[in-house]
Every structure is written in C-alpha cells, then in structure tokens.
C-alpha cells in the first residue's frame, strides 16, 4: 500500500505528517504520519526497528525530527524537550521502567508536576488522587511512602502509568508499557483506559500483542521501515496486518525451516545438563538437558527466570547441578571462565553495553576474545586476524566497508553478526544467545536464522533466549517456558504455536480477552 489513507479531519487532536529522522548513517523514520482523534484508542504497530520508538520519542519531545510537521489541536507542535510536550498535553510512558529508586512512590508519582523553585505544596489531595488511580489498577496497591526501588517490576511500571494518568493529558502514549504488567493489572488498566477514552482522552498504544489490539484499539496505524503504510479500522484482518507489517515475507524462509527430526534429536548425545538448580532462592529446582545440534528456545514473560537460566548455563548462580558433557566425561560448569574452557560461548543481550567495543575496529571487535591466536613473535598480527575473520564474513553475510572501520559504522544487524563471529571463532560446542535479534532488521534476522540452522546441522548446540513469540514458533526445535522464576513447561517443535506458547506463559490458563 503505497499511499496512506490519511485524510485531514477537522477535529484531530494530533496530526503528524511526513516525519523524517536519521541518526548518523541510519534512517530511523522516512515518512511517518499519524492522525489521532479525540477519545480514541489508537494502536501503533510494526516490527522491531520499524520506527515506532523513534516516532514516540519525537512526539514526547525526546528527539526532534529532521523534517515533518506536527500539530496539536490545530496548532504547530515542536517540543524541544519532554517538559514542553507535557505542557502541550502529550504524556508518554516509555517501554523502559523509569523511576527514581531512592525516592518514595508518592514522589515518583508526582515527579515533574512542580516547577523548579516553587513553594512546596503540602497538598493532601495529591495522596488521595494517587491512591485512587493505584487502587483502580492494583489489587494490593503499594504504600505510598516506601522507596520506589522496593517495588516489583509490574508495580513499578504501574506507577509510571499512574504518573502519566495523574497529569490527565490530552494524549497518553503507552510505548510497550503494558509488557511489564501482570495479567490482572493489564486487564484493570484497559478498563480504566476505556473509561478515560470515553471522557475524551486519546490513547496511543504500542504493543506486540494482537489480542490487546483486538481488545481495545479503535484504529491501528502500521509502520514499516520508518514509513506509515496504513491506518486500519477496528475490523482489521490478522493476515492483512501481518502482511502490512512484514511487507509479505515470513520471518523464517521455508527453505531454512527444516527442523531437526524429533525422533532423531532424542538419540543425540547430551552436551549440557542442568539438574536440580534453583534460579532464585526458594524457587523450584530446574532440570533440563541440551543435545548436540539442537536449537532450544528460552521463553517466558519478561523477568520470569529465563535470564537466570541462561546465566546458569554460563556458570553464574547455583551451578551445583550444571554440567557440560563431552562424550562420557562430565565437567561441572563452575564459573564463566570454566564455561569458556568447556566450549560454552555467550552472546549478550545489550549489544551496545555488553558486546561491542565502540571505538574498536570491526576486526579488533571480532578478534578480541581469541586474540591469543594472533600473536606472532610476541606481537599481534593483523594479517592473522584478517584471515580468521575471512572465514566468517561470507557465512554470516557480514556487510562492511573495510575491516579497519569502527564497528559503530555498521548497522545493528551487522554488528551483531560480528559479535557472533567473535564467539564462533572460539570454536564453541554450545552457543548461548540472549535475545540476539532485538532491534535488528528483518534481513539480518533471516541471515542469522539461516546461520543458526546451519551451525546446528554441523553439531553446534544453540540455546537462545528470545522475547519474540514468532521466533520461537518458527525457529526452535524445542522451547523451555519459564514462569515465576522456574521452568514451567517444555514444548516440542510439533506442539509449538503462538497460542500454546502464550498460554504457557500464563501458566496454562487460557488467555481470553
């Protein structure tokens, strides 16, 4: 759909047209637009990297667009900082939970409501207002005087949403703000949002969950590669939506999708085993085995134990029952260094903070974990590293200018490929990946899937934590589902489906709207 069916309507609350934004070499938004009507719940959907977050950050005054026009209530709107957007009545709850841990819940709820040097208001009404909304959202609202840092994740995010609701904005933007909420709170939030929308508040909802959109959204705007491709009415069709989002292609191409034969996998030798380890103090013990040449997914709602499990395989935490099995010899994985020696490699989640060395060249980023192999007569040999890197360039389809360019000149997907090459160079037997496809484009994702498939066929065991349900359904041979800090279910490839998986996230209870 080339032209987008946006028509100027007289009573739009927010009108956005032709937004363009680039960051360095990357174009995040090409031509984004949005029309928001009073009192509507408007979902904004798109794949990772489609520009949703950038659009939200522009609307909230965090970033400024290169070109494009924005109007609020018919007047030009060009916020230079969040404070100005808030004053214009546009309030955003970000995906990341933003709170000041050492301040009380009450302080956090009213943060930013006061000016810089105003008399302190001893307004008892504030307490009451805060309590009213918290009670509406939570079964057991937290006391207002405890530090924000003492709250659990779901309550923290609820507080962030409450902070915005308290300001009673014209437009409320929820940027995947519901993903950290527990099921019950989400339900309560939605009924509160409907209520507010009925009173005239416009709500922009960004979510990956189709059921949420179906349940609450009046209209849906689809973004793809930084462009608004369509705005659909409430009677949208699921397949149509997917087609609009992906541009028609499936995540994993059929040629790649050759899952290992289940019967065959069960025969293969076990390479790593977990027995009786606890992910958290007081949690239930976990048992799991990983076989040669498998791709195993770790799934669950954010923060339900899959991260701890991955760390366990790497040698952090209660490693008593974690062993690497090599033929008939068993070695305990006591710590990360030991894990490396046993052929376990780990690709971290936060590419910028944990993986890449920002000003190092592409080549040095590749070689850093195995630089010992490049030492010739005491000095590091660039030629040796080049040669080693050459093995992976083609297999991973890494696109770069020169190997001496800084790694940051590459796109996120190519950076991730370099990082994976770094670890493959250490010749691992088990490859642990922590959500490796977060924020990389579809093309790079496909390259990655193809590579993982190929590697597994060559006998590498891949254990991959992913927050994307589709990734589990389409790529994994087997998925371990975590809930409330322990291993809750294991789904074999033939039982894998979106519904089964999401069902398992919620403890087997049917999730119906």
């Amino acid at each position: 759909m080339a032209t987008h069916p946006l028509t100027a309507e007289p009573d739009t609350v927010l009108a956005v047209d032709g937004l363009r934004k680039h960051f360095g070499p990357t174009v995040a938004l090409r031509n984004a637009g949005l029309r928001l009507l009073p009192g509507e719940v408007h979902a904004l959907v798109g794949e990772n990297g489609s520009g949703k977050s950038t659009l939200v950050k522009i609307l909230s005054g965090v970033h400024r667009p290169d070109v494009g026009s924005m109007e609020v209530g018919g007047r030009p709107f060009a916020p230079r900082m969040p404070a100005q957007a808030l004053r214009a009545g546009i309030d955003t709850v970000f995906q990341e939970v933003l709170g000041v841990e050492n301040r009380t819940v009450l302080d956090n709820l009213w943060l930013g409501a006061d000016g810089l040097l105003r008399p302190v208001s001893r307004d008892a009404g504030r307490r009451a207002k805060a309590e009213k909304i918290l009670t509406a959202l939570l079964v057991t609202p937290p006391p207002l005087d405890i530090p924000f840092g003492a709250l659990q994740l779901s309550d923290r995010q609820t507080c962030c949403i409450t902070r915005s609701l308290l300001r009673d904005p014209k437009v409320l933007i929820l940027d995947e703000a519901t993903s950290a909420l527990d099921y019950d709170t989400r339900t309560r939030l939605f009924s509160l949002l409907k209520e507010r929308a009925a009173q005239g508040m416009s709500i922009v909802l960004i979510t990956h969950r189709m059921d949420e959109i179906r349940e609450i959204a009046d209209r849906v705007t689809v973004l793809r590669s930084g462009e608004t491709v369509a705005t659909l009415d409430a009677d949208w069709d699921h397949d149509e939506m997917i087609r609009l989002m992906t541009g028609g292609a499936h995540l994993v191409q059929d040629t790649v999708r050759v899952a290992a034969d289940a019967a065959d996998t069960a025969e293969r030798p076990v390479v790593q085993r977990v027995r009786g380890s606890r992910l958290r103090p007081g949690g239930a013990p976990c048992d799991a085995v990983f076989r040669q040449g498998e791709i195993v997914g770790l799934a669950g709602l954010e923060g339900h134990g899959q991260d701890e499990f991955l760390r366990l395989l790497l040698g952090h935490g209660d490693t008593e029952g974690v062993v690497r099995i090599d033929g008939d010899r068993e070695h305990r994985v006591t710590d990360p260094r030991r894990a490396r020696d046993l052929g376990i490699a780990y690709v971290p989640r936060d590419r910028r903070g944990e993986s890449i060395l920002p000003w190092f060249s592409i080549l040095d980023n590749f070689a850093i974990a195995t630089a010992g192999q490049d030492v010739r007569r005491g000095l590091l040999s660039g030629r040796s590293a080049e040669k080693r890197f050459g093995h992976y360039v083609e297999r991973l389809n890494i696109k770069y200018g020169r190997t001496s360019d800084a790694i940051t000149t590459l796109s996120g997907g190519n950076q991730q490929k370099v990082v994976i090459a770094r670890w493959l160079a250490s010749q691992p037997k088990v490859l642990l990946l922590n959500d490796p496809t977060r924020g990389i484009d579809v093309g790079a994702k496909r390259d990655l899937y193809r590579l993982l498939r190929e590697l597994s066929r060559l006998g590498l065991t891949v254990v991959m934590l992913s927050s994307e349900v589709d990734e589990h359904v389409e790529l994994m041979d087997r998925v371990l589902v975590f809930r409330e800090g322990s291993l809750a279910a294991e789904l074999a490839h033939e039982e894998l489906s979106r519904e089964r998986l999401v069902d398992a996230f919620f403890g087997g209870a049917a999730v119906t709207a």
């Binding site: 990297g49 930084g226 993986s355």
Partner: protein, 356 residues
C-alpha cells in the same frame, strides 16, 4: 569497572547516531561520499593534526618574536622540559585509557625524588637496591589503589587523591621531615640541558623519553596485554564478557602508573636540585592536561603518541608565555582553560535525550 564508574567516566564518543544504530532503529544504511571536511575530521580523529599545527605555529611565533629562542641551548631546555612532562604522563595516559584518573602521581613523584636525595647514601644499602625498593612499594600501593577502585566501584579520583597524600606523608615520616641535600651527580646529569648521550648532543632524559614513547606505543597497540587494556577502557562489561580480567588490568595499570611516577621522581629530583613535597604537583596537572589535550578520551580511543603531542604543545606554549613575561598564575589558568577546551572537543558526554 562497575556501573558507577561507567556513568561517571564514560567515554563520550557516542554520537547520537551511533547509539540509535545499535539500540533501536535499523533501517537502510546511507553511505554518503565523504566531503573534504569529513575527510579532515576523520583524519583528526586518528591523528592530532590540529595540535601538531598549533605547536608548529606557536613555535614559529616564538622563534620570530623572541631572540635566542632558536639557540641550541634553549631548544635543548625545551626538549628536557618536554621529556620530564612526557615521562610523568605515561602512567596517566594508561590510566585514562581504562577510564580512570590518577591524582596520586604527584605523591609518588615525591617518593622517587626523596629516595635519591635523602636515601642515596644509606650505609649498607646501595642506591639501586634502594630505588628498587621504592619502585616496588610504589607499584604495590598503586596496585592496591586499582584493586580498591575496581572491587568496590569507587571513583578513582578519591582513592588516588588519598593514596597520593599517604605516599607524601609516609615519605615525610620516613625521611624525618627533611628532603636531603640534593640529587646525586648522575641524576643531575640525566636532565641537564648541557649533557650529552653517548656523544649525541642531546640530554639523556630526552633519549629515554623517545625510547619510552616507542616502547609504550608498541606495547599498547601491538601486544596482547595492550589490547586487553584498550578493551577494558572501550567497553568494561564487554571486555569482562570476552574473558578479559578487567580487575587484573586495573591493578596492573595503576601499579605501572605508580612505579613510573616513582622513576619520574628520580629524574625530576635531578632536574630540580632541591626537593619538597610539592615537587610533583605541576607534573600532575601537566599530565592530565597533556593527555586530554592530545586527544585521548576517557576509555579511549587514544595513545601515548597523542600525549606526546599534547606535551609538546603545552611545553612550547608555556615556554613562549614565560618568555613573554607571564607568570605561574597565568600558567595555572591556562592549564584549566586548556583542559576545558580539549574536553569540549574530545570528551563530551551523551545527551540525556540519547539515554532514554
């Protein structure tokens, strides 16, 4: 280094674009053909071009306006000043490259200086042994500093400030408050502008400095330990996950920095003649200014050659200023302004908006 460390001393190379490219949006890449301006900018990023040009310009100006500026003796004196500052800045360069800072430098310089002036003729203990003991003590103390900073995620500025104070204090206690008669003859000859090295009409300290520059550069950029050091600065967490023991790097770098400061103190004692507990202070300031001015950012990128350029620029500028009749006070102000200017070019932090 832990998170606090990262927050407070994070290298600020992160342009907003870089961040976005890695964290979120991943759309098509645009590769514009570089213009001449961009080419110069990328050259400047790899080589301190502006600093070199400035040095040459200031030098030329000094030569044109000041009689006797180009005399061999005066050039030699400038070179000696450069060498002294350069030797004192090696440790600081390494420390800045791992996102630290070393304020204990001044203290350890005093340790080295007092060792040669006060303890050079202790009966029964030959001076080399005495020096070795001093260097070993310095290295141990430095290593402890590095350990504490890393283990407990404490800002190195505080720990090194304290360590320097302790070093000066302990030295004063051991020497009974006196600073001795003066440096032995060999130490004086090291840095006397009139002395020569194996027949070359250059003072030994300059030759030592040139050799040190070469050795440090090779160690830093062409060997495995050097690569580990740079990686520790570039991305502490990533380095840790790449199985580099960043704690070991911190301990080693601070130990080396302290040991080199003790040795620099020996040379400085010879140059200054008489020693007191403030001997190291100007060199502490110089070292930070030279590193930052050369264009080494906290956590890199950077190199000791850059610091060398920074040292040359600073020394030439201050020689010209002194020649024009400016005083210590102006020098101090200049130091501050220079640090600010260099940081504004190289060491800016990420915008708050890019951290959301």
């Amino acid at each position: 280094m832990m998170t606090t460390q990262q927050d407070s001393l994070s290298a600020a190379e992160a342009a907003p674009g870089v961040d976005a490219a890695t964290s979120g949006a991943d759309s098509a890449e645009v590769r514009p053909t570089p213009s001449a301006g961009q080419w110069l900018l990328s050259l400047q990023r790899r080589f301190p071009l502006v600093q070199v040009l400035l040095t040459v310009a200031v030098f030329a100006w000094g030569a044109a306006t000041m009689p006797g500026f180009l005399e061999p003796t005066s050039i030699r004196s400038v070179l000696v000043l450069c060498a002294l500052a350069g030797l004192a800045s090696i440790g600081q360069t390494l420390v800045v490259l791992i996102r630290g800072i070393d304020l204990s430098l001044a203290g350890f310089i005093v340790v080295g200086a007092v060792t040669v002036t006060r303890f050079s003729d202790v009966p029964g203990v030959p001076l080399p042994v005495m020096l070795a003991v001093a260097v070993a003590c310095g290295a141990t103390a430095g290593g402890l500093v590095g350990y504490m900073c890393h283990r407990f995620a404490i800002h190195p500025i505080i720990v090194t400030l304290a360590a320097g104070s302790i070093a000066v204090g302990v030295t004063a206690v051991l020497s009974g408050g006196g600073y001795g008669a003066g440096a032995p003859g060999w130490a004086t000859r090291l840095s006397s502008p009139m002395s020569s090295t194996f027949g070359i009409p250059v003072p030994p300290v300059v030759v030592i400095w040139v050799l040190a520059t070469a050795v440090v550069s090779v160690l830093l950029h062409r060997t495995l330990p050097g690569r580990r050091l740079l990686a520790t600065g570039a991305g502490p967490v990533a380095a840790d996950l790449a199985h580099i023991s960043t704690r070991k790097v911190w301990v080693t770098v601070y130990a080396i920095s302290a040991a080199l400061a003790v040795l620099a103190g020996v040379v400085l004692a010879g140059f200054a003649g008489n020693v007191d507990n403030r001997l190291g202070n100007p060199y502490l300031f110089l070292s930070i200014a030279a590193v930052v001015l050369g264009g080494t950012a906290f956590g890199g990128p950077g190199s000791y050659t850059r610091t060398t350029v920074g040292v040359l620029l600073l020394t030439v500028v201050s020689t010209v200023l002194v020649g024009m009749g400016f005083q210590e006070a102006d020098q101090q102000i200049l130091n501050g302004v220079v640090i600010l200017a260099a940081m504004a070019v190289y060491g800016r932090e990420r915008r708050l908006r890019d951290q959301v």
